[in-house]
C-alpha cells in the first residue's frame, strides 16, 4: 500500500491510502486517525476519514505546512504492521416491509429474486462505516450483496423519512433525519442515527461495523419508530 500526502488547501493535507475502498483500507485509515489524534492533538482542527482518504485540517496559528507534513509522515510510519483497529460492532433493528420500504419490490425485480431474499441478503452482510457526511449522522456503509445493489432513483424523493434504510449502488445507509434523497428505500430503523441532545450524538463512527436485524411492526413501534 502506498501512502500519498497531498496538499488540500492552505491549512489542510489529504492522505490517500490507495485508489480503491476495502475493509483493509478502512482499518488502516482508522489506525491513522487514532495515531494522528494521539500525536498531533494540539494542532489538529478536524479529521475527515473517507473511503480511501483522510483529510487533515490543522491550525495554521500553531503550526506550518512543513511541520505538519513531517509529523504526518511520522504518524503514518509502519501502518502495515500496526494492529488492526476493527471498530466496534453495532446491531441496528430494521422493520423491513413494503409499507416501510417502498422500493423493496423494485430491487427484487432487478435482481430477479423475492422480496424476502432482498431482506435476507441485506441482513447477511456485516458492513463497515466508510465515511460520515452528506448530512449530520449520515453513515455510508459498504458493501451490499451484488444481487441487491441498485442505482439511485432518476428522480430523488422530496421527502425521505428519518430512519429510512436505503441502498444506492453497493452502499447502504440509514437516513438520520427527514430529507430529500435518491436512494432506494427498503425499511425503517427506529434507532436515532443522529441526536444532538444525546452524548454521543451518533451510535457509530467511521471505522465501526454494523449489522442489521429484522424486527416486526409491533417491535418497531415499541422501540419508538413512527410510521
Amino acid at each position: 500500500m502506498s501512502l500519498n500526502i497531498e496538499i488540500a488547501g492552505q491549512d489542510a493535507f489529504i492522505v490517500y491510502f490507495g485508489e480503491e475502498t476495502s475493509p483493509a483500507v478502512s482499518a488502516k485509515i482508522q489506525i491513522a486517525v487514532d495515531r494522528i489524534q494521539a500525536q498531533m492533538a494540539d494542532i489538529i482542527v478536524d479529521l475527515v476519514p473517507s473511503y480511501a482518504s483522510l483529510l487533515v485540517i490543522y491550525d495554521l496559528n500553531r503550526s506550518d505546512p512543513f511541520a505538519v507534513r513531517s509529523a504526518l509522515r511520522q504518524a503514518l510510519l509502519n501502518l502495515e504492521q500496526a494492529e488492526s483497529n476493527s471498530g466496534k460492532l453495532v446491531t441496528l433493528p430494521v422493520y423491513y416491509s413494503e409499507e416501510s420500504g417502498p422500493d423493496l419490490g423494485i430491487i427484487a425485480e432487478r435482481g430477479n429474486i423475492s422480496i424476502n431474499e432482498v431482506i435476507e441478503f441485506h441482513q447477511q452482510q456485516e458492513y463497515r462505516v466508510y465515511a460520515i457526511g452528506f448530512a449530520p449522522g449520515f453513515a455510508y456503509l459498504g458493501e451490499v450483496d451484488e444481487r441487491i445493489a441498485a442505482p439511485r432513483l432518476s428522480t430523488p424523493r422530496q421527502k425521505v423519512p428519518r430512519g429510512a434504510v436505503a441502498i444506492a449502488d453497493r452502499q447502504t445507509a440509514v437516513y438520520p433525519a427527514q430529507s430529500p434523497g435518491g436512494w432506494n428505500l427498503i425499511g425503517l430503523c427506529p434507532t436515532r442515527m443522529f441526536n444532538p441532545e444525546q452524548q454521543p450524538s451518533m451510535p457509530v463512527q467511521a471505522g465501526d461495523r454494523i449489522r442489521f436485524e429484522a424486527i416486526d411492526r409491533d417491535e418497531f413501534l415499541r422501540l419508538g419508530g413512527e410510521l
Binding site: A8, G9, T21, P49, A52, I57
Partner: protein, 311 residues
C-alpha cells in the same frame, strides 16, 4: 433574558460565532462568518471576545428593537443603517437605548454585514458553537435564519470609549476580485492547458451562490478523472463538476464530496468572494503553500497593528 426583538428578519440573517470546529467526524460542517475579517472587527471595536456571537446580515433588511441599553457595531457591506430613523456610521461603536429601533438598509456595496453587541449575544452553543447552519438545522436559536418575533438575548452594557476603524483601514468591496489558490487535491488530473485556461480567464459569480458554495460561470475546464471516491472537502476547495464550471466551496459546504478539485482558495480571498454580487468577475491566481502561509501571518500582523481611532 431580555435583549433585542426581531421586528423584520431581512432576507437572510444568521446567528454566527467564528464557527464549529472539531465536529466534521459527525458530518457537521463549519459554518461561521463568510467574511471573517469584517466579523472580527465587529467584535474588536466593542472589546468583545473574538468568538463572541454576532449576526451575519446578508443583503440587509433587518430591523430590531432594543430591550436593553447597550452598544452595537455594524461592519462589512455598506448600507444605510439607522437608529430611530437617524443614520449611524458603520465600523464604529454606537450606543443604543431600551426601546430604540435599529434598521439596516439593503447593501449597496458588498453583501454581508456583521452586527455585534457589547458582550456578544447570549446563545446556547451546540457542538461547541452558536453558528447557524440552516441545512443541518443546527445552531442559532432554532437551527434556522432569524424570524420575526425572535428574541436575541444579551446583557445590558455601556461602552467607555467610542471607537471607529479609520476610513483608510476599511475594506472596499468592488465588483471583482482575484482569488489566490493553493493548488492541490486532483490538480494533476487537469492537464497544462486546463490549468492555463483556469488561471487566465475571468469567471462570473452566478445567482446560484450561497453559504455552501459559489457557482461560477466562464471558460469550461475538464479533468481526466472518470469517477472518484468521495473524500473530505476543506474550506475554499474548488470543485469542477462534469459541466466544467467551478464551484468554490464555502463555510456551509458538505464535509465530503466526489468531484475533482484543482486546489483551494485561501480564506482571506473567500471572504472577498462572499462580498461579491452575482455578475461580478473573479480571476484565479496560483500561489505556493509558502506564500499562503506568509499571507496568513502578514494579514494577522496587519490586523493586530491596525488600531481603531477614538471618535
Amino acid at each position: 433574558m431580555s435583549g433585542f426583538i426581531v421586528k423584520q428578519p431581512g432576507l437572510l440573517t444568521l446567528i454566527q460565532d467564528r464557527g464549529r470546529f472539531g465536529a466534521h467526524h459527525l458530518g457537521l460542517t463549519t459554518g461561521g462568518p463568510l467574511d471573517a475579517m469584517a466579523f472580527d472587527w465587529a467584535n474588536r471595536l466593542l472589546g468583545n471576545d473574538e468568538n463572541a456571537t454576532c449576526l451575519e446580515i446578508s443583503f440587509g433588511g433587518l430591523s430590531l428593537e432594543a430591550e436593553v441599553d447597550t452598544a452595537i457595531v455594524i461592519t462589512g457591506a455598506k448600507s444605510v443603517c439607522k437608529i430611530n430613523g437617524k443614520q449611524i456610521s458603520q465600523w464604529q461603536t454606537c450606543s443604543i437605548k431600551k426601546g430604540d429601533i435599529l434598521e439596516t438598509g439593503f447593501a449597496s456595496e458588498g453583501v454581508r454585514s456583521y452586527l455585534s453587541v457589547a458582550g456578544g449575544f447570549d446563545i446556547e452553543p451546540s457542538f461547541g458553537s452558536s453558528s447557524t447552519v440552516v441545512r443541518e438545522k443546527i445552531g442559532g436559536l432554532h437551527g434556522d435564519k432569524l424570524q420575526a418575533g425572535d428574541r436575541l438575548p444579551c446583557r445590558p452594557n455601556s461602552i467607555g470609549l467610542q471607537l471607529r476603524l479609520a476610513d483608510q483601514d476599511q475594506p472596499v468591496y468592488g465588483r471583482q476580485a482575484t482569488l489566490r489558490v493553493v493548488k492541490g487535491y486532483q490538480q494533476a488530473a487537469f492537464d497544462p492547458i486546463q490549468h492555463w485556461r483556469f488561471f487566465n480567464s475571468t469567471y462570473q459569480v452566478t445567482e446560484r451562490s450561497d453559504r455552501m458554495g459559489f457557482r461560477l460561470e466562464g471558460e469550461v475546464i475538464h479533468s481526466s478523472m472518470v469517477g472518484m471516491l468521495s473524500e473530505g472537502i476543506c474550506h475554499g476547495a474548488i470543485q469542477i463538476p462534469a459541466d466544467g464550471q467551478p464551484i468554490v466551496l464555502m463555510n456551509d459546504r458538505q464535509t465530503i464530496g466526489g468531484y475533482p478539485k484543482i486546489g483551494s482558495v485561501i480564506p482571506l480571498d473567500t471572504a472577498r468572494l462572499a462580498q461579491l454580487t452575482p455578475g461580478s468577475g473573479v480571476r484565479f491566481e496560483a500561489i505556493s503553500i509558502e506564500q499562503a502561509h506568509n499571507l496568513h501571518w502578514l494579514e494577522k500582523s496587519r490586523y493586530q497593528r491596525t488600531q481603531p481611532v477614538k471618535v
